[in-house]
């Protein structure tokens, strides 16, 4: 497996066409609905996904999460970048 290309912190990730983030009443959780895929994001992933609206750069999302959770910016940046680049490769997000 080749590692994904490093993510540019200026990209503005958003849900790819055909992908919806919605609340599932029957299971009482958030789900990502995509072609032939249903993903159940964990708490961290959900916090990130809810901020991926296509207009906010990755940098800004990292800043906000670091401040909301009073956490180390470097660690948050790693989490966000890993997840965003993985979901871009899976066509769940576009950047």
């Amino acid at each position: 497996m080749t590692a994904p290309a490093p993510l540019k912190s200026a990209i503005r990730p958003g849900l790819a066409p055909g992908v919806r983030l919605s609340f599932d009443k029957a299971r009482d959780c958030w789900v990502v609905l995509a072609p032939e895929r249903v993903l159940v994001p964990d708490e961290t992933a959900l916090e990130i996904l809810q901020r991926c609206n296509g207009s906010r750069p990755v940098d800004e999302i990292v800043d906000e999460l670091a401040s909301v959770y009073n956490a180390d910016r470097g660690e948050i940046a790693q989490d966000v970048e890993d997840m965003v680049s993985d979901l871009i490769a899976k066509r769940i997000l576009v950047g």
């Binding site: 790819a16 055909g18 919806r20 919605s22 029957a26 072609p35 032939e36 249903v38 899976k90 066509r91």
Partner: protein, 381 residues
């Protein structure tokens, strides 16, 4: 939760429902997933009935609905059904042959809230595609349809069905999907139930062809990472481990036929003795939780050895019931795709013998099947 009577966890709701709106279709592919006994138009559920089924599905916890067929777009009320699905929060996918809609009618579906379109292709080669679908000019129509999907802004999946006539061109089919702007391509070897079982000898590739195709798909995956999602369905006849068919019988998925019968999988009607409930007579939630057909092979209680004591029993759920039936004559046997099944070698030999012989003519999918050669009829039991 305690007590020996009910050791299994509570039943989760289904994730997805495949809605066969009709069995009518202009194509006659010899591997069609519809049953041999096709349902007639006059028995189809009405618009109101389908709307009620959508409501019941959403209420039950279904997240995604696949409008399928036959060819679902021959139903004139499809835009109404798509709009209704959208209104109640269901994710909707159109599974289509792409030969019946014009651009304007596709735009109406997108406007109604369709989330995604899935277009099947028979090949990249126009002549073979026309031969497989028994429909002259089929490829040109499909290419035009794919362009409209992209122009209108809908995400597109290409579904390429692999068999001995096109197996050498899997890579070109993937490249075509990229060219058409698809977000996803499903490269699926034929699964041998129903029509495909009847046409097994006409469709089965050799082991070498399958291995070559698998390598090419892997190479394409590495080459196209981030550009397109490639899902690959391997052929059971050459497998060593069974697939987790439908994610387990009655665990994630249900299928509704044109007249409203609710099935655990689209081929379940091949299993003798199963009784299916209809949405015309019972609420969908009740069918999901307690219909005899869903209960028959749900969980692990029904399993014989070698499944019963296997550490994979809750991974593959015993594989595919319809395949067990087709090969061993018993739907409750272990899936012969598993190397631990006593019928594993028999299945492999069937594939090797079929693929080594010259391909017979197709028995095309039609409402009134042509006479079937006696030898094939025997092979399909």
């Amino acid at each position: 939760m305690s007590g020996a009577a009910n050791p299994t966890p509570p039943l989760a709701p289904p994730l997805a429902a495949l809605l066969e709106l009709t069995h009518r279709c202009p194509l006659q592919c010899p591997y069609c997933s519809n049953p041999i006994e096709l349902e007639r138009a006059k028995g189809e559920l009405s618009t109101d009935e389908w709307r009620r089924v959508l409501d019941e599905a959403a209420e039950l916890g279904v997240l995604q609905v696949h409008f399928s067929g036959g060819e679902p777009t021959v139903r004139r009320d499809l835009p109404e059904l798509v709009a209704h699905a959208r209104r109640i929060g269901l994710y909707s996918n159109l599974i289509t042959s792409g030969v019946t809609l014009d651009r304007a009618r596709l735009a109406v579906l997108a406007q109604a809230g369709l989330d995604h379109a899935q277009l099947s292709i028979q090949d990249v080669d126009h002549q073979t595609a026309a031969h497989i679908a028994n429909h002259p000019g089929v490829q040109g129509k499909k290419l035009a349809f794919a362009r409209w999907v992209r122009e209108i802004g809908l995400p597109l999946t290409i579904n390429a069905v692999v068999n001995r006539h096109n197996v050498t061109r899997v890579e070109r089919m993937i490249d075509l999907a990229v060219e058409l702007g698809a977000v996803r391509v499903e490269v699926a070897h034929v699964q041998y139930y129903g029509w495909a079982l009847r046409n097994r000898a006409a469709l089965m590739p050799t082991l070498e062809q399958v291995q070559e195709a698998t390598q090419r798909v892997e190479a394409a995956r590495a080459r196209l990472r981030g550009q397109i999602v490639i899902d690959y369905v391997v052929p059971d006849y050459y497998a060593r481990q069974p697939k987790s068919c439908m994610g387990g019988w009655g665990r994630q998925f249900l299928n509704i036929t044109p007249s409203g019968e609710v099935l655990p999988c689209h081929a379940a009607q091949t299993i003798p003795g199963l009784v299916f409930d209809s949405v015309r007579h019972k609420p969908l939630a009740e069918i999901w939780t307690s219909s005899a057909a869903f209960e028959a092979y749900r969980g692990t209680d029904w399993m014989p050895e070698p499944c019963r004591s296997c550490d994979q029993r809750e991974v593959d759920w015993g594989g595919c019931r319809c395949q067990a039936l087709a090969i061993t004559g018993s739907a409750a046997a272990a899936d012969p795709a598993c190397a631990l099944s006593p019928a594993h070698q028999e299945m492999r030999s069937l594939a090797e013998a079929a693929s080594a012989a010259p391909a017979p003519d197709f028995v095309y999918r039609r409402v009134t099947p042509q006479e079937i050669p006696a030898k094939v009829a025997a092979a399909t039991r």
